[in-house]
C-alpha cells in the first residue's frame, strides 16, 4: 500500500530555526526518519513520497495545512503518517493538523508525538501514537509508529496496545438516570470506599515554565494580546462573544490610545459598559505609549491580537497561544502583555 510521510524542515534536512518559515515541499520516496520507517513497514507497504514544511509556516499560516494536503493528495496515498514530533510544540501541532485534515478528507492517517505535546488535542478524531521525549528516542518511537501503520493498513483500529495516546472522542448521550441521581450513586460508591469512581477523566495540563525576565526592556518590541473581545466598533472579523473559535489582529500603529466609540468589546462574560467607555482599560495602549515615549520599552508591535475568553475550550486556547507565540517570534517581539478580563 502507498504511504505518504509528513515531517518538518529539520528532519527533511532543509535547515533548523533559520528555515522554519519555509513553505511545504514534496519529494518522491522516503527521507530522513522515513528511511528507517520504510524498513519497518516491510515489503507490502511503500513510502511513496515525503512532504515537509517549516514549523513556523505550518502553524502560523492559515492556508498551510491545505497546501500540505495538496502535496499529499498528489501522491495518492492509502495512508498518511506524520512525525515523530517528540515534545516539539509547533511540529506536533503541524503533525496533528495534517492528520486531522487527511482524516477529514477521507484518507486514513496517524501521527506520532510525546503525550505532553500540545498538538495532541488538535488531531481531532485521527489516531496519535506515543513517541519518546526527544529525537534520541527515534528508534523505539519509529518502531511504535511503524507497528501502528501496519495495523491500520490491515484495517484494524488502534488501541492503547499499539501505543495510541490522547483522548478518545467523548460523545454526548442520554443516560437512563439524570445527573443528580448519578451524583447520589457516586457519593454512595465513594462512601463505600471506591476511591476511583468518576464519570470524567482528570484532564492533564502542562505546567508552563515562565520565560526568563528581559534584561533590558528598553530595546525589545512588546506585543499586546487580550482575551477581552476588544475589536473595531463594527466587529468586521465577526469575533464571537463566547466559545471563540478564532483570534483576530488589528493595527494600532500610530494610535496614541484606544479611542471610545472606535473600539468595542464583544465579550459575553462581563458587563462591557466601562470597557467601551474607555477601551484603554482592556488594551492599555495609552499607558504603553507613555512607556514607549519615555524609552522604557523599545517599541510596541504594530498590531494587537484579540480573542474572547468566555466558554472557550482549553484546546482552542492552547492553539491560539502557540499561534500567537509563533507569530510574535516572526514579527520580532520578545515580550507580550496579555490582558485578561
Amino acid at each position: 500500500m502507498r504511504v505518504v510521510h509528513y515531517i518538518n524542515q529539520f528532519f527533511a534536512g532543509v535547515g533548523g530555526e533559520d528555515s522554519a518559515a519555509s513553505g511545504p515541499e514534496s519529494a518522491p520516496g522516503a527521507k530522513g526518519p522515513g528511511r528507517k520507517l520504510a524498513a519497518l513497514l516491510g515489503a507490502d507497504h511503500e513510502i511513496v513520497a515525503t512532504v515537509w514544511c517549516g514549523d513556523d509556516y505550518a502553524v502560523g499560516d492559515a492556508g498551510a495545512v491545505d497546501e500540505v494536503l495538496e502535496f499529499i493528495r498528489a501522491a495518492e496515498p492509502d495512508l498518511v503518517v506524520a512525525g515523530p514530533a517528540f515534545t516539539s510544540g509547533r511540529y506536533g501541532l503541524a503533525c496533528a493538523r495534517v492528520v486531522a485534515a487527511a482524516t477529514a478528507a477521507g484518507i486514513p492517517a496517524v501521527a506520532s508525538m510525546h503525550p505532553d505535546n500540545p498538538g495532541l488535542d488538535e488531531a481531532g478524531t485521527a489516531p496519535v501514537v506515543a513517541s519518546g521525549e526527544v529525537a534520541r528516542s527515534m528508534g523505539p518511537s519509529l518502531a511504535t509508529l511503524g507497528g501502528a501503520v501496519v495495523h491500520l493498513l490491515a484495517g484494524d483500529d488502534l488501541t492503547a496496545d499499539e501505543g495510541r495516546i490522547g483522548r478518545l472522542p467523548r460523545r454526548s448521550v442520554l443516560d437512563e438516570r439524570n445527573a443528580a441521581t448519578r451524583a447520589v450513586d457516586l457519593v454512595l460508591a465513594r462512601l463505600a470506599g471506591d476511591r476511583d469512581a468518576s464519570e470524567v477523566p482528570l484532564p492533564r495540563f502542562d505546567q508552563v515554565t515562565p520565560a526568563a525576565p528581559i534584561a533590558d526592556p528598553s530595546v525589545v518590541t512588546v506585543a499586546f494580546v487580550t482575551e477581552g473581545g476588544l475589536v473595531p466598533d463594527a466587529n468586521p472579523g465577526g469575533l464571537e462573544s463566547a466559545r471563540a473559535t478564532r483570534w483576530l489582529r488589528y493595527p494600532i500603529e500610530n494610535l496614541p490610545g484606544m479611542a471610545a466609540g472606535e473600539w468595542r468589546s464583544v465579550h459575553g462574560g462581563f458587563s462591557t459598559v466601562a470597557a467601551n467607555a474607555d477601551p484603554n482599560r482592556i488594551l492599555p495602549l495609552d499607558a504603553a505609549r507613555e512607556l514607549e515615549g519615555e524609552g522604557r520599552i523599545g517599541a510596541l508591535m504594530s498590531e494587537y491580537f484579540v480573542t474572547t475568553g468566555n466558554g472557550t475550550s482549553v484546546a482552542n486556547a492552547r492553539k491560539f497561544g502557540i499561534e500567537w507565540a509563533t507569530d510574535m517570534r516572526r514579527s520580532g517581539a520578545r515580550a507580550a502583555i496579555l490582558t485578561a478580563t
Partner: protein, 434 residues
Amino acid sequence: MTGLAGATKRGVTPPVATLGRVGLTRHVHRITAMELGERTSLEGGVLSVAVEEAEGFFTDPALASVTLSVTAPGASARIVKVLDAVEPRTKGPGGGGIFPGFVGPAEAQGDGTTHVLRGAAVVVAGYLPRAQEAVIDMSGPAADLCPLSKTVNLVVEFEPAEGAAWEDVDVALRLGSLRLAAHLAEAGLDVEPDEVDEPLDPEAAAGLPKVAALTNLQTQGPFKDVFVYGRSFAGEQPMVIDPGDVDDGAVVSGQYGHPSLKNPTYVHQNHPVAAALRARHGVDLCFAGIVISPEPVAMAGKEEISAAAARVCADAGFDAVIVTKEGGGNADADMALKMDALEDLGITAVGLFAEMSGIEGTGPPIVVPPERATAMVSTGNYDHRLTLPAVARAYGGERVALVDRPATDELELPTAVIYCSLSCLGWGRLRAVV
C-alpha cells in the same frame, strides 16, 4: 437577610433542623393543558388563564406592553431569548408567603402546605443586555434536553417602555412573572391534588450517612445575578438554607448568561439534587440539607468563599456533599476549590460538571479540575452540535442572535445554547462518554 438566614449563616444549625422545622407538604396538581380565557381556573388538569388579569401583573413604568401565549410539549414551536422560567406555586391567597422577598415577606417559609402546578411554567423571553441567546424547542431532538420542553408554557413576551433603563425592565419582568406564577397556582387552592408529598421524617434516616447539597449561585451583577429572600446574593457568605425555603422560591434567578449552564428559578424550585437525595432518605442516606454559596469573580474571593463553604458543611456534620455550579469555565474554579476544601476536611465531595471538550469531544473536558476530590459527574459536552428542525412558530424574537438566522429556521447549534441542557443542578440525563 432575615433573622433565620442570619442565624444559620455560620453553620451552627444542627443538620436535621435543615430538613424543615415542621416540614413542607406539597400538594401537586398535574397540568396537562393551558388555555387563555376570561377566568383563571383549574379543572381536570386544564389551567385556564384570564389574559387581562395576567397581563396586569406586568403593569410597570418600565414596560410598554406584554404578550402572552401558550405553547405545549410536542408543538412545532421554539422559544428564543429565554430569560427566567418559574413554576406556579402558592401557599394561600395572595401567595401566602411564596417567593419570599418578592411576593411574600422576606422571611423563612418552608413549612405548611405549598400548592404546585406541576407541568406548567411561566417563561419570560425577549432581549435584555448581557443575556446570551437561549433556545427551548418544544419538539425534536433538543426537547429531550430541557425541562421547559416538558411543561405547558405561558410565554411572556414584552416591549420595554421608551427610555426605560434595562435594569428596571429586568426588575419589572421578575416581579411580574413571580406574581403571575403565584396567582396562577391559586387556581389549585380548592382543587383536590393529584399527589401529596409529605415532609421527610428526620428519624427515618438515623445512623445513615448525612449527605447534603452545596449549591453555587452565579452572582456577577445586573443580568447575571441570583436573589435569595429577594436580595442579590453577591457578596454574601455561604449559608445553610432550609430545603423547604428553596421549594418555596427563596432562590430566584436573574442570571441570563450561559443558557445551558444556568439554573432558572424553575430548577431551583425543583432542586434536582435535593429531589434525588430526598428519594434516598432513609434508604441508604440521610438528606442533611442545602448550603448555598456565591461564586465570586476574583480568585481570592473564590478561595475565601470555598474555605468558608467547606467549614459550614463541616460544622453541620455532613459526611458527603454534592457540589453544583452555575456558569462556564470560570465557575469550574469554584467547583474545584470547594471540592478540594471539603475533601481536606474529610468530607466526601462529588461535583457535577459540564464538559467543554470541543466539537469533536477530544479536548480537555474541565477548565479547572479539582486536584484531590476527583469524583465528577458529567452533564454532557457543551460544544456538541445539534441540528434543530425548522418550526412553525417562534416566540421571544424574530431571529436567533448567535447565528443571525430566522428563529423558525432549521438551525445547527451547540448544546451550549439549549436552555438548561447541561443543567449544573443535575436535572438532565445528558452525559459524555467515550
